[in-house]
């Protein structure tokens, strides 16, 4: 308990900007919203008065159906009008705030570096964009209106109570701090549980997500029961937390109703005493009872809304943390016309504590072909990420034509650099859109890329050709077809430098040979850097780099390496038996 007490204020301090600051640009909308809410609520208080005056008129014998009906209907219609306007405004304002917030978030996310997205859990970003925005939406649509109109009623009723009889009024108003205190304590405890429950829900979602993404493996291994057990554990935990939240909440309403009833009892006992002693009129006594009824509901509402506000504040804290991240700044001014002269000096890259690339020195001549080979987890892919600016070196310099990557305009840099990733990444659009992913692609370069990637026959065999759509995870295509579409995507921008990450792993030898020939023929000036497992295919390359555990063990032509590097020879020998059959 103490623990949570000390945590409380700290957390608040960390929550960052107030959620109300979010509403500034919408002050006009919010003003209208509050105005409509106050008008419709205020007019609602008028109805009892109308009825009262109707009864009085009848007692006085001046009752007229026509006047009472006209007045009544006019007021009711005005209330209807304002409450319709209020609810339209509620929807409009909240959806608008939500949409704008999502746009801002998406915009911010789209400007982050690859490293950031990699370290931040994408599922967290997804939460930011969906449930966190939803809880802010709820705040705008429900909390603001409820709190303003509740405060309005509480203050109004309190003033009336005090003006009738301040002693009894103060006693009745004592329920406000009691109810408020109960809310404060219960919600304080519940908030700790809410946090826990959020963690459990995250856990639950993770199990669900993995069971969907890994569906095929689960079916091969027949581990459905295992997954169900994992899920059941999380689900059970979620139920338990839900039940403990319930146990706390179950106290809330009874205590409040009981307190209110006690206040009513006080009015009866004390007020009855005053009336009997002649200190108070019977009418005032009756009014006290009705104002008490009026007072309780808004206090309840504020209590519940405080929870909505707390959740929205926490969500906004997470969101604004994201929104306040610095953009990756575009300070490059140079037009990149990469020749392919690449120079790396003393480059180190760490992932957390762990060094991935150590003291890399490397130079690549324009128009040359370089192969990178090495065992699994040697840092080959990271080397390509470095060359494409996806990650930045922790120390050392990397230059293209003597300039570092961030000196170039990123737009023009990426127009000259093509990257074929190792894993198949296809978007849920047509094949054409997947290949012409960069917007600068012309029809001519599209055709050339398709021919080079040996996709022409395949495209022609599809009934809808290039317009065939790729389902989300590209399941309807074979591994090699996906890989070749990725190659076509990289070639379609007419790059000067092409990075291939284990491109040939899923393409058969025959096709691979043809593709490599096609590249040489159709893109003669291309500087090629290729991560590969097969030496035979790259024996004639100008440079072969042997990477092991993040270090360059040897670099040179095939001949040189065969004479100088025992590790290279070892790898070569492991493939020798097959080299006869390489096509």
């Amino acid at each position: 308990m103490k623990n949570s007490d000390t945590k409380g204020p700290k957390q608040k301090a960390n929550q960052g900007p107030s959620i109300f600051s979010l509403l500034k640009p919408y002050s006009g909308l919010i003003f209208l919203l509050i105005l409509f809410a106050l008008l419709s609520n205020g007019l609602n208080l008028w109805i009892p008065k109308l009825i009262g005056s109707g009864i009085d008129a009848y007692s006085a014998g001046k009752f007229s159906y026509k006047t009472i009906a006209t007045e009544f209907i006019i007021v009711v219609l005005i209330i209807f009008l304002f409450s319709v306007l209020q609810s339209l405004m509620q929807t409009y304002a909240s959806e608008k705030v939500a949409r704008d917030l999502r746009t801002r978030l998406a915009d911010k996310i789209s400007r982050q570096s690859f490293a950031y997205i990699q370290t931040t859990n994408p599922s967290r970003l997804l939460t930011n964009l969906t449930s966190d925005v939803d809880s802010i939406k709820l705040f705008v649509s429900q909390a603001i209106v409820s709190i303003v109109s509740s405060l309005f009623i509480i203050i109004g009723a309190s003033i009336l109570l005090l003006s009738i009889n301040w002693e009894l009024g103060l006693i009745v108003m004592a329920i406000i701090p009691i109810i408020g205190g109960t809310f404060f304590i219960v919600l304080g405890k519940v908030r700790v549980l809410f946090k826990k429950s959020r963690e459990v829900i995250d856990w639950l979602n993770k199990v669900i997500n993995e069971s969907i993404l890994g569906a095929m493996l689960i079916r091969v291994i027949n581990s459905q029961q295992l997954e169900y057990d994992k899920f059941f554990e999380a689900s059970n935990k979620a139920k338990d937390i839900g039940l403990s939240i319930l146990r706390l909440f179950a106290w809330l309403i009874p205590i409040i109703v009981f307190t209110a009833n006690m206040a009513g009892l006080m009015i009866l006992v004390l007020g009855g005493h005053y009336v009997i002693n002649g200190k108070m009129s019977l009418g005032d006594f009756a009014a006290f009872n009705s104002y008490l009824a009026l007072l309780i509901f808004p206090i309840l509402i504020i209590g519940f809304m405080s929870n909505v506000i707390a959740q929205a504040t926490a969500s906004y804290g997470r969101i604004s943390e994201m929104l306040e991240r610095p953009d990756t700044i575009e300070k490059g001014q140079l037009e990149a016309n990469l020749t392919g002269a690449i120079e790396m000096k003393g480059i180190n890259v760490n992932y957390g504590e762990k060094p991935v690339l150590k003291q890399i020195d490397l130079s690549v001549r324009p128009g040359s072909r370089t192969a990178v080979i090495g065992p699994t987890a040697a840092g080959k892919t990271q080397l390509l990420y470095l060359l494409s600016g996806l990650i930045k070196p922790d120390s050392g310099t990397l230059t293209f034509d003597g300039h570092q990557i961030d000196e170039y305009k990123s737009e023009s840099f990426y127009q000259k650099l093509g990257f074929v990733f190792q894993d198949s990444i296809l978007f849920n659009m047509s094949i054409r859109e997947n290949i012409t992913f960069s917007e600068t692609v012309t029809d001519e370069s599209l055709q050339r890329a398709i021919e080079t990637a040996e996709l022409k026959d395949f495209m022609e065999s599809l009934p809808e050709g290039l317009n065939t759509s790729v389902s989300e995870r590209g399941l309807s295509l074979s591994g090699g077809q996906k890989q070749r579409i990725m190659l076509a995507r990289a070639l379609a921008i007419n790059p000067n430098v092409l990075l291939l990450d284990d491109f040939t792993a899923r393409v058969d030898n025959q096709t691979e040979t043809r593709i490599l020939e096609n590249i040489q023929r159709n893109y003669p000036d291309l500087t090629l850097i290729s991560v590969t497992q097969k030496i035979a295919a790259v024996e004639h390359y100008e440079q072969i780099i042997l990477l092991m555990q993040g270090e360059i063990l040897a670099a040179g032509t095939h001949k040189e390496l065969m004479n100088t590097s025992p590790e290279y020879v070892q790898i070569f020998n492991s493939q020798k038996s097959t080299s006869n059959y390489e096509l």
Binding site: E95, S141, V220, Q224, P254, E472
Partner: protein, 586 residues
């Protein structure tokens, strides 16, 4: 079977709110006793609370006005006792009813998850992962909100309404009926717009599912977005989805918020009816002023919960829309049934394909009349150009799909007659795209392994040594205890393939299928893998799909897979010739 949830939606006719409610209540059918108890608690506290004002009024009339303070104190005591009882019963009511709701949601979640586990791979091919995840997480959440918050209010509102209704009708039937006319209008109004409102809510849920799917796709593919300088792609795609979501959400919000003003309007009209008709009845001497005042109170008591019901109705509609989407999923059945074991069809081979035809969709056949046999203890290679049908053939061997026609015999029996346990024990399949679970490398290697799954670190290392796998662990920073974060993104593709390899080998299957399982592993490590495969028990049958020829040159037999046909290549050389000379027809 059609597994596409979104296309099923269009065929199906909408169920009414009422049947939807009945289905929802089926979820809590087992809790009758609890529900009954909490209903009685609600009844007790509601009637005590309705009785309170009456007693206060009585006290005022009989004691305050007559100055008998002693009587006031006596009634105060009675009220105190009543309030205390109401206090306890309303606590119990929340506790019991809330418990019912929590358990209902618990049950529902488990049922959904269980259903997903039962569905075959085809289901996951036809639905977007993001959409499925949103269905399970989001829609269940909407239902759980309904159960945990709205349901109780729903019930107590209805009880208060019925109580007040009874009072209204029993005091004066004519005025009572007149007072209830606006309620009838509300009922008709609600009934007629509900289907439309629900449709709107379903649309809104669908578009937020689409939004999630959009975000997920872009975030997972972020490196392509950067490397092709298409940061604007994410923004544009997202903007479209966001704008669409905004429009549907706006329409839905308007539809949902429409109830409250309408309910307010009619409840105010009810008061007007009470007032004017009541006064008319008074002039006819059928009614009294005092009764009119309490009548006004009771009509407020009747219409206020109705207004609350309007708000609840919205969350009910949202819950029903969610329930529709969920029950569509629950109605699906696996098309991979286990049939009765047919008598052995005299086949000595471990696995045999007899006249197998297959297509993912009925219009597009991928495998045409495939026949082959795999003998025990032999190594087979499937070679052929990309897209020729190798992976499809392998998937059918592991019964991820059933053939459209033809039979697959495993140990002489139809593969359909094996239970999934028996089948997965016999057949190991290393998939082209390795999948890892969050956890450690060790946990992933032992995943689903009944024999070893309880091994601790030391035991595990002993097992690894005995199988000759210890050399493979060295590529992981912390060996077997290396952490695997968010589905394996922290490891390289080669590392993930190694884990999948070890996972399959440790299960000691009779038939082990390797589908490009070592494509991204360097040749030295791959040699090690070859040695490990050699050490497997002699009767293990291997099926290897690979593009690297060295991985298949030791095969006892080679099958050439092209254009949906599987033919036997007599020798390695013949397979080579076919690879070189046969033009790909796919």
């Amino acid at each position: 079977m059609n597994y596409n949830l979104n296309s099923i939606a269009e065929q199906e006719k909408k169920s009414s709110s009422w049947t939807g409610l009945k289905n929802l209540l089926n979820l809590v059918a087992e809790e009758r006793k609890r529900i009954f108890l909490s209903l009685s608690a609600i009844l007790v506290s509601a009637s005590l609370n309705l009785l309170g004002p009456f007693l206060i009024g009585y006290t005022i009339d009989h004691y305050v006005q007559t100055g008998k303070y002693h009587g006031v104190l006596v009634f105060a005591g009675i009220l105190l006792a009543m309030y205390s009882v109401a206090f306890v019963s309303s606590y119990l009511q929340t506790q019991w009813m809330g418990g019912v709701a929590q358990r209902a949601i618990f049950k529902l979640r488990n049922v959904i998850f269980n259903k997903i586990q039962q569905l075959p791979v085809a289901f996951f091919n036809e639905n977007k992962a993001g959409d499925l995840i949103s269905r399970v997480n989001n829609d269940t959440d909407k239902l759980s909100q309904f159960f945990s918050q709205a349901l109780m209010q729903f019930i107590s509102s209805i009880i208060t309404m019925i109580g007040s209704g009874v009072f209204l009708l029993s005091i004066n039937i004519k005025l009572g009926l007149a007072t209830l006319v606006p309620a009838l209008v509300i009922l008709v109004f609600t009934r007629s717009v509900s289907p439309w409102v629900r449709k709107r809510n379903a649309l809104s849920l669908k578009s937020s599912g689409g939004l999630s799917a959009e975000i997920q796709e872009s975030l997972n593919n972020f490196k392509v977005i950067i490397a092709f300088n298409r940061r604007d792609y994410f923004r544009k795609k997202f903007d479209v989805a966001n704008q669409h979501n905004y429009k549907t959400a706006m329409g839905t919000g308007m539809a949902n918020n429409m109830f409250l003003p309408v309910f307010g309007l009619f409840s105010a009209l009810a008061q007007l009816i009470v007032l004017s008709y009541g006064i008319y009845l008074i002039t006819e001497s059928e009614f009294s002023i005092g009764l009119l005042v309490s009548y006004l109170a009771y009509s407020t008591n009747f219409y206020n919960p109705l207004r609350q019901l309007a708000a609840l109705w919205t969350s009910f509609q949202v819950a029903l829309a969610g329930w529709d989407r969920i029950s569509r999923m629950l109605s699906l059945q696996s098309n991979l049934e286990v049939t009765d074991s047919t008598p052995a069809k005299a086949s000595e081979s471990l696995l045999e394909f007899r006249n197998v035809h297959f297509g993912y969709t009925s219009s597009n056949e991928i495998l045409h009349n495939v026949n082959f046999k795999l003998e025990k203890g032999k190594t087979y290679a499937l070679v052929g150009p990309t897209g020729g049908g190798k992976t499809t053939t392998a998937s059918i061997m592991a019964r991820l799909y059933d053939p459209v026609s033809g039979v697959i015999l495993l140990d002489g029996k139809d593969i359909k007659s094996y239970t999934p346990e028996e089948r997965s024990k016999k057949i190991g399949f290393i998939l082209q795209e390795p999948f890892l679970f969050t956890g450690t490398v060790r946990e992933n290697i032992l995943y689903g392994n009944e024999q070893y799954h309880e091994s601790d670190q030391e035991n595990f290392l002993a097992i690894i040594k005995a199988t000759g796998l210890e050399g493979l662990l060295s590529v992981f920073d912390d060996g077997a205890e290396t952490k695997v974060l968010s589905s394996g993104d922290s490891l390289s593709l080669g590392q993930r393939q190694l884990i999948a390899f070890m996972r399959a080998v440790l299960r000691k299957p009779d038939l082990l299928i390797l589908d490009e399982a070592t494509a991204n592993i360097d040749t030295i490590t791959e040699k090690l893998l070859g040695e490990i495969l050699d050490k497997l028990p002699e009767e293990t049958t291997l099926v290897i799909i690979a593009h690297r020829l060295n991985t298949i040159e030791n095969a006892d037999e080679i099958f050439f897979v092209n254009s949906g046909e599987v033919t036997r290549a007599g020798s390695f050389q013949e397979a080579m010739d076919k690879l070189i000379h046969h033009k790909r027809k796919s």
